[in-house]
Amino acid sequence: MKCFTQSPTKSTYCPDMRLNKKHDFPGKLIVVEGVDGSGKSTQLDLLRNWLISRGQSVIFTEWNSSRLISKTIKQAKRSNSLIPNTFSLLHATDFADRLENIIIPALKAGLVVLADRYCFTAFARDVARGVDREWVRNLYGFSVRPDGAFYFQVPIEVSLARIANSRMPGYYESGMDMGLSSDPMQSFQIFQSRIINEYNQMVDEYGFYTMPATQAIHEQQVLFREHATKILNLT
């Protein structure tokens, strides 16, 4: 296929697709990415409150939350019977529904859109699950390119410790569907390492701002606000 033949190191997949072009909506789109336990949701929440206090109109949207299909996804996950392509397609459907119903209208209206996880989550997770790298990038080619994508980078040990402290990782979260190991914690470790590896490769491909997610919450937030101020042209 003509637009999928180049090397996967820069964003060269189908350059004509919306994801690979700057959008021209009046609003701004900021997304956070990173593995579970990287602290991205906490940081996004703090940023959101700060932006609102500064008089900005902000809306927030998170992964797997569409009215159309998020319940179906949760049910399907419970039955542990999904193959990787179906899993990908379900999440892409959820994302498409939110993009058309929430994100794009808000950007057209000039709002600041904050997204907790974006298509890059699928690029990391689905590829870690064995889905073809180009296939999933084509699948999400309709995504609007974010004005800022912040990647909360943590070493695998930190992510594991933060998750393990609070709960047992879920079946898909630990990649149990791939039979990496019969031990959930070990499977989780292998799977999360693969995800982190995919994220790290995307830093250059999509120009992520890498956030030092092992630093104190306050320090990260200062840095986050600094970048956001520039992206949103706040004074």
């Binding site: 697709m17 159309l68 392509n85 397609l89 459907t93 498409a96 296939w135 084509n138 699948l139």
Partner: protein, 226 residues
């Protein structure tokens, strides 16, 4: 899409709404079973996982082009994994009432990028035979209005706003769909059948074509007859 090397055969019947696909599939199924073949059927938009979501979303007329495409792709991915591939592995003849070509035609007419749609369905298996039931617009319209008591919102492409007149919208939309089907029929060597012919005449041709396909396979031993 990739070629399969399962012992079974995947046979697809394509065509727009109202051309009589399901009648033909049912007759084929009965015939093949009597002949001693293992048969499975699978219809478009019938997965346990997602068909209800599609129904609900359509009722509300709440779907945009991309979401519409992705829901159907998810439906097929689920059926491939849960129905089609297991049946092919067991040496069954799988009769599919519509397949990826329906998506290729519809999604492109709805404005999706044709490369994008085709690439998404890369996970699908290439069928062993594709039959295309073709019917001109006017008889098709008469048939749909009399048998279904009216025109459907999506089948008329009302969601893409070509015309507010349902009848005109149906004609425009279906003629574009047919154009896409005919292009694919040529490029992919579909066996095109005239859907205006009597049901039995169409069935006769289908059986003859399948007979040829299965004869070779039975002789080479990949299809098992009971």
């Amino acid at each position: 899409m990739h070629n399969h090397d399962y012992p079974g055969k995947l046979v697809v019947i394509e065509g727009t709404d109202g051309v009589g696909r399901s009648t033909q599939v049912e007759m084929l199924q009965n015939w093949l079973q009597v002949e001693g073949f293992g048969v499975s059927t699978t219809a478009w938009k019938s997965s346990q996982l997602i068909s209800k979501v599609i129904e609900k979303a359509k009722e509300k007329n709440a779907l945009n082009t991309i979401t519409f495409s992705l829901l159907y792709a998810t439906d097929l991915a689920d059926r491939l994994h849960s129905t089609i591939i297991p049946a092919l592995k067991a040496g069954h003849i799988v009769l599919a009432d519509r397949y990826v070509y329906t998506a290729f035609a519809r999604d492109v007419v709805r404005g999706a990028d044709s490369t994008w749609v085709r690439k998404i369905y890369d996970f699908a298996i290439k069928p062993d035979r594709v039959f295309y039931l073709k019917m001109p617009l006017d008889p098709l319209l008469r048939r749909i209005i009399t048998t279904r008591g009216g025109l459907d919102f999506y089948e008329s492409g009302r969601d893409i706003g070509i015309s507010t007149d349902l009848y005109q919208s149906f004609k425009l939309y279906q003629s574009q769909i047919m154009f896409e089907f005919e292009r694919m029929a040529e490029a992919n060597r579909f066996i095109t059948l005239n859907a205006e012919d009597p049901v039995e005449a169409i069935q006769k041709v289908l059986r003859r074509e399948l007979g040829t396909l299965l004869m070779d396979e039975t002789l080479s031993g990949s299809i098992v007859r009971s």
